[in-house]
Amino acid sequence: MKTKKLFTLSNAVTKENIKEVMQQAIALELATIPTYLSTYYSINRAQDQDKLYAKIHAQLSQSGERTATEIDELTQELKLDVLVYSNKSAALIMSVVIEEMLHLALACNVKQAVCQTAPDLMGIGKGLSFPTQLDGHIPEFQINAAKLSLKQLTTFLQIESPEPFVDPYADKLLQDTIDYQTIGRLYEMIIKCVAEDFPGPYDYRPQLLPPDSPERPRPYYSQNSMNTVHYDREHNPQFANGEDSGGLVGVYDAHSAIDALERIIDQGEGRSKFKQHTLIWGEDKMPVPMEVVDGKVTFWEGDYDDAGKEIAHFAKFLEAYSLGGYYQEKFRNIQGLDDFFSYFVYDTDANPRTADYVASGNQALALASELGNAVFAYILLMIEACYYKDESTQYDLFIFGIHKSMIWLLSGVGNQINQYTYSKDNKAYKGALTFEPFSFEKSFLRPKAQIMNLVDQLAKADPTNWGWAIKSENYFPSLPDVGLDYTIEADMPKVPGTPYTHHH
């Protein structure tokens, strides 16, 4: 499948092109979110442990190599390998997604303040399709929307790599590349330009910031949720993100702009001045993993963010990669078992398309895919609208719209769509979000009305699984109604005594 370039990265950042470069940086941050989410939703992170035990037990029993006691003990051990790893890898990915959302907002704030221009997220969304690539890297590498695997985690490592690397498959990839840049080096060029040419103070324009009330602060960025929690082998909760790993920053001058940009570098790549793990290729042309001892890896000082409290994105993915490889090898060496990842990863196609679902004749699957794309586009619209609104309206949009959409609506579709199966090229796959562009401009209806139309159609096509979507007004019906011109209509379902009003 031919890859489609998301943008063309500049070789230098100047005061003349910084507006375009910041838009490119925003596109880069935005592109990571569906990439990581597509993998996150492929993971069955909390499956029925008794069914899993029974499956593994039956497989081990067939070989006749072990006593009943040995089979019981080994089954329990392997069951925990699957349950703990699947939950942990999902939590690690979600913890990065949350911070990529933060990075997106930080980059948008910088563009709004330094360039005096609002971010164009909808424009980026219209050009984003998979497979894609991040221009500017040498070598360029293909990025798929795909299920969890060592190969997919390798792509994640390439995206977050703190150091330049030589792709072992470079001779098979695209050749029309420009100078090599890591994401961090792009931001370092921007920082240099801001420091030299944009000292500030900048004229006020709305940025994504919580209402500043000393009596009762109302922040809306949260580093952790239950989806970043995972459990160790004794089922004790573990938290993937630190609570003080940095949040939103208001950009008013060069100092605060650089603070925002450095947060992005620190959380993504770690502290390069200390010893840190980097992307090194092995003889098998796969990344060299961290050493795994007793089911754990050892981090180095530079693997953490600038505060030294949270593992940077690259190290999180290298941990998931290292542990995944360790368990895959372990399962491979035990007769009768399947591939390790097959026990908890839905068998989805890479870079699926709604057209595939339509061609298969599965109407509900096709509609679910359309709905997922519409919700993702609507999230971009709501974020973009924040850059035209006051703090109070931003808060409403976030709490009523973006949080609900990320936690419930997009997740609702992402976690349900893999219950559908379809055939393509005589092979059966599970459904997955496609993250294809969704154009609200094709209809005269407001975007929310278009979403509600899809919900209605889906509920009719598959009332068993989607009836709730129209019956419960707290989900889709209570989304804020944001127009493509950023107007907001208050059409939330009403409850006596608690009318909903927006402050335009």
């Binding site: 909390a46 949260s222 949720s225 239950m226 009523f400 419930w408 006596p496």
Partner: protein
């Protein structure tokens, strides 16, 4: 008449203001109600009214410091009822009991207003078994949202041992939370804008 207009709405056991205002309607006084009367909902942003948001699973540090004290519809941090096993997922109090914080907030308000209250039916809040019993249900999952799995579980294979181990682990969290409650409140009193 709907639940909205006939009952005082609160998010969990021991958080009622009046006699007979608990779920079953047979409690002696404030603070002794057996379960939530708020319109049940599973999670963040899905609450119907002011004061009906639970807490702990999704939300900011600030929101998690004020379980059941949301200002408006859809601003609730998490689902109701708040099981004793639910812990906070964010902020300096992460890993500690949500219900105990909700209860101490309730007691603070009552004390500030000079209003009496009684002991909650269960010291550390309701277990899932308890809620099922009170509500006349069997095996219903009241643990609320989140994709990471049950907050009250263990991986032991034998179901009986598994449940015992899970209960033991939850009890340990509850006891630790009780011990750290002053620290939990102190953490919330510090200005924390979540950034």
């Amino acid at each position: 008449m709907s639940e909205l207009t006939t009952k005082e709405l609160h998010v969990c056991m021991g958080l009622n203001s009046c006699k007979n205002a608990g779920y079953s309607g047979n409690n002696d006084c404030a603070g002794k109600g057996d379960c939530s009367t708020a319109v049940g909902h599973p999670c963040h942003t899905l609450n119907a009214c002011k004061g009906q948001g639970g807490c702990g699973i999704f939300g900011t540090t600030e929101e998690l410091c004020h379980p059941g004290e949301n200002e408006c519809r859809y601003q609730g941090s998490c689902g109701v009822p708040i099981l004793s096993s639910r812990f906070m997922a964010q902020g300096p109090n992460k890993g500690l009991s949500v219900w105990q914080l909700a209860r101490i907030r309730f007691e603070e308000k009552r004390n500030q207003n000079g209003e009496p209250f009684g002991e909650a039916p269960q010291q550390y809040g309701p277990s899932e078994d308890y809620v099922n019993t009170v509500r006349g249900t069997t095996g219903v999952d009241y643990s609320s949202c989140g994709q990471s799995g049950s907050r009250s579980c263990s991986y032991i294979n034998n179901p009986t041992d598994r449940k015992a181990a899970a209960n033991q682990r939850v009890l340990k969290m509850e006891q630790e939370s009780a011990q750290k409650l002053p620290e939990t409140l102190s953490n919330c009193d510090c200005k924390n804008d979540g950034n």
